[in-house]
Amino acid sequence: MAAAVANGDKGFEVPKLEIKFTKLFINGRFVDAVSGKTFETRDPRTGEVTARIAEGDKADVDLAVKAAREAFDHGPWPRMSGFQRGRILHKFADLVEQHTEELAALDTVDAGKLFAMGKAIDIPGGANLLRYYAGAADKIHGETLKMARPCHGYTLKEPVGVVGHIVPWNYPTTMFFFKVSPALAAGCTMVVKPAEQTPLSALFYAHLAKEAGVPDGVLNVVPGFGPTAGAAISSHMDIDKVSFTGSTEVGRLVMEAAAKSNLKPVSLELGGKSPVIVFDDADLDMAVSLVHMATYTNKGEICVAGSRIYVQEGIYDAFVKKASEMAKKSVVGDPFNPRVHQGPQIDKDQYEKVLKYIDIGTREGATLVTGGKPCGENGYYIEPTIFTNEEMSIAQEEIFGPVMALMKFKTVEEAIQKANSTRYGLAAGIVTKNIDIANTVSRSIRAGAIWINCYLGFDPDAPFGGYKMSGFGKDMGMDALEKYLHTKAVVTPLYNTPWL
């Protein structure tokens, strides 16, 4: 029943890791918190302390904002050409790539993420995003307008100013670059608050940014907690924009704080309960693999996790069987072990929360097909779990763990209706060979990303962000630049013009 556990497997090497950066990064320097306080960041493989990190709070956010304000109002960053900013971002990308191994290891000890995935995807992906926006920095176009009167009108796309970024712990590197790359390209300055669980790589990136030539004060990193540092950012009168990725509940607090302070525009990338709809005509093995990946990637700690799986009745039974077999073969263990598919949950809280949801699922009458238990002797490991059943709260709430909820449907209309019966609208998967089903369902699902016969179809050029309570505003693509730009319309009368 239980998934294979590789906890005892010692046949792999854990890279030697030195934690170089533990202080706040403000105005180009690593500094202690004003309060002198620190907090612990722990290794989810063992629960042991990895490092003590300076704990930023309101006073530190104030200093960081002051530096960012100065860098924006008087510094070179928004005043150099987009091409020049792009050159620095290219350098930044090269430096990230040169430190791939070390950065991937930091994310692994901090977040329990698979080391191999970090090296292959997270870290290179961060460099790719930087390069994408490096190439975008000199392609931010305003427009000349077609006025209804004899006027000349045009728009200027101006950097919005000082940005506050609040990033989550599940993808410390990816989320950092989702936010920071387009904001830098646009010419903004910023204060980044990484999650308290995963401050290590963000501080390293601050160091690399400086080395690449990002001027002091442009990129400030203040590790700390949401209620203190996060709240200080959200309610700061001198921050012009807040970009947040995290839970829907905290997103609400961020928006509220923005409303109560200076009405700063907010973009929110929040929770999801994303459906994957598998139609009868799907290739079964392919669909099972796709759904497995959709649910269990990053141990289910991913906002777009395919956590509601709707399978058409014709292949439902066969699907459940195969999905269960695949889950059982999944190897849970030390994320540094290259043979491991799934590492530990981020921390004790999440670990306990996931187990609680599994318990609720069982009590509410869902059928536990496989998994459902912790595994290993220490750390926060949980078996890949599958529930089947129709009505259950585990199919409504975001679990953020390796828990698949499998459900049956009959018709396309029913699938659409079920897929949309959620307060979230982040992503959806469709598995079908039929062009009409694919096109119809794509338009019908109220979600920001639709992946047809694939999942996690992220790309630097593809905008990403939610409908409904999954948030608003887009990360990635040229759309993300819009979050960090103001549009100014400039109008002046025209005299004796030969055309309008």
Binding site: G135, K139, N439, P460
Partner: protein
């Protein structure tokens, strides 16, 4: 026009380069154009005090260029190969007329081979099939390699094209890298639209690479034209056959080898050195070429378009000649306007310290249609303006100051630091300019400065200023291609716009005024592809460039250049039970 003798001159009757080379050898030798490495600190001669400045360097030995010529063959399918005919032609050092190298001479058969290679690379090869991000990385690596080899590339460009090393090294090579990085950034941002139809249809637009692009570039800015053409074509995923100018084949071969080092698959970029009537014509009329881009004279541009029409109707972009007006309003700061107008006409390069103008460049710099000369001054580049229209209220002051400025212009060996104007390209051009000067005098224009050759040897011409020029005079209508400023008087905005537009060309214009309304009116009213207001010759990778009327078809640079190299495909399918339309 631009690059009248261009490289790409398909019309040119002469398939044999040697006689021309020979003549320029003789006459260049007289000039002793060879010069001084490291800008020998010789005396600078003001034209007014030392009209024979050019003679100063006559006895100096030319510097040995710090570069070896590594590539002289045709680049076809990733290999450097001899011409099918086995023939070669000489490329000549414009400082001395000496042969730099014998270069494989491509003709129709070589074009056929190159197109076949490009066809394969496009139809079956990895280039259009890899991700745009991968293409982007290749172009970025190419830009890095250009910077790493900047000294060599610049030396080669200087040697082959006679441009100053300071200009090629300091400005042109970095600009090539800038262009490549700019287009690299576009590669993964080429977006089609998803289109709302009036009915239950799902409509997408795909922008696909157009296929095999044939590109013909001139000799005046070999590397920059390489970048303008090759950058966007490759970013979009096309394969290319590039014909360089016969005067300047070397730098393109060198950088093309770097592009392969950067990871460009074989066959994606083929470079065929050769002549217009043979290689150029074969490329233009080739049935396997999907698109043509040409920079050169209006006359040759017509032939290119015609050959495209007679063959497979391939779309053509043309960057041709011009006769661009420079308009000085009565509220202009006259000193500033004089300097700007002077530069717009005479200079090919204005840096903090005005310096060297090479023969080829000098020719271009003083010609209207030669939009392709750049000046980097705090990020600015520079292009020419030959009809200087000055408002009657500031006319006399303007003429007087222009005269003084012209008399103050430093003419001499282009390799010497501080020299502003070198010799004209050759004897033919030299004589033609002097004929135009005579025509100006005969038609009643007032010669206020210059009007004769400078010095007693070589092709140096005094900076010449004509005032009281009338629209109907030949010097106000035809391209002089020399350092001859023609100043015309006007009284109203309406009048100057009408007269400025009264030209078959429409490449660029300058407007000099502090009045917002006049600037806006003229910006819209002038029928030209670029209007510079209170500046001139500002070029940037992101700014579209091209002509109205007979100055050309299409735009290069900016997002607009991508359109030249993309097909547009609409994909339409019914959408059943659409949730919204």
């Amino acid at each position: 026009m631009a690059a009248r003798r261009a490289a790409s001159s398909i019309l040119s009757r002469r398939p044999i380069p040697r006689p021309v080379a020979a003549s320029s050898i003789g006459e260049s030798a007289l000039l002793g154009a060879g010069s001084a490495r490291g800008w020998l600190p010789g005396a600078l001669h003001r034209f007014s005090s030392a009209p024979a400045a050019a003679a100063a360097a006559a006895t100096e030995e030319p510097i040995q260029p710090p570069v070896d010529v590594k590539y002289t063959k045709l680049l076809i399918n990733g290999n450097f190969v001899d011409a099918a005919s086995g023939r070669t032609f000489a490329t000549v050092d414009p400082r001395t007329g000496d042969v730099i190298a014998h270069v494989a001479e491509g003709d129709a058969e070589d074009i056929n081979r190159a197109v076949a290679a490009a066809r394969r690379a496009f139809d079956e090869g990895p280039w259009p099939r890899m991700t745009a991000y991968e293409r982007c990385r290749v172009l970025l690596r190419f830009a890095d390699l250009i910077e790493q080899h900047a000294e060599e590339i610049a030396a080669l460009e200087t040697w082959d094209g006679g441009k100053t090393l300071e200009q090629t090294r300091g400005m042109e090579v970095p600009m090539v890298a800038r262009y490549m990085r700019y287009y690299a950034g576009w590669a993964d941002k080429i977006h089609g639209l998803v289109v709302p139809a009036d009915g239950p249809h799902h409509v997408q637009v795909l922008h696909e690479p157009i296929g095999v692009a044939g590109q013909i570039i001139p000799w005046n800015f070999p590397l920059l034209m390489f970048a303008w053409k090759v950058g966007p074509a490759l970013a979009c995923g096309n394969a290319v056959v590039l014909k360089t100018a016969e005067q300047t084949p070397l730098s393109a071969l060198f950088v093309a080898s770097l592009l392969h080092e950067a990871g460009l698959p074989e066959g994606v970029l083929n470079v065929v050195s050769g002549f217009g009537p043979t290689a150029g014509a074969a490329l233009c009329s080739h049935m396997g070429v999907d698109k043509l881009a040409f920079t050169g004279s209006t006359g040759t541009g017509k032939i290119v378009l015609e050959l495209a029409a007679r063959s497979n109707l391939k779309p053509v972009t043309l960057e041709l000649g011009g006769k661009s007006p420079f308009i000085v309003m009565d509220d202009a700061d006259v000193d500033q306007a004089v300097e700007l107008a002077h530069r717009a006409l005479f200079f090919n390069q204005v840096c903090r310290y005005v310096h060297d103008v090479l023969r080829a460049i000098a020719l271009l710099a003083t010609s209207f249609d030669s939009f392709l000369w750049f000046v980097l001054e705090q990020g600015q580049c520079c292009c020419a303006g030959s009809r200087t229209f000055v408002h009657e209220r500031v006319y006399d002051e303007f003429v007087e100051k222009s005269k003084a400025r012209a008399l103050n212009r430093v003419v001499g060996d282009p390799f010497r630091r501080g020299v502003e104007q070198g010799p004209q390209i050759d004897g033919e051009q030299f004589k033609k300019i002097l004929r135009y000067v005579q025509s100006g005098v005969d038609s009643g224009a007032t010669l206020v400065a210059g009007g004769d050759r400078a010095g007693s040897r070589g092709f140096y011409i005094q900076p010449t200023v004509f005032a009281d020029v009338k629209d109907e005079m030949k010097i106000a209508q035809e391209e002089i291609f020399g350092p001859v400023q023609t100043i015309l008087k006007f009284s109203t905005v309406e009048e100057v716009v009408r007269r400025a537009n009264d030209s078959p060309y429409g490449l660029a214009a300058g407007v000099f005024t502090q009045r917002l309304d006049a600037a806006n009116t003229m910006a819209r009213a002038l029928r030209v592809g670029t209007v510079w207001v209170n500046t001139y010759d500002v070029f940037d990778a992101a700014v579209p460039f091209g002509g109205y009327k007979m100055s050309g078809v299409g735009r290069e640079k900016g997002v607009y250049s991508l359109r030249n190299y993309l097909q547009t495909k609409a994909v339409v399918t019914p959408i059943k039970d659409a949730a919204w339309l």
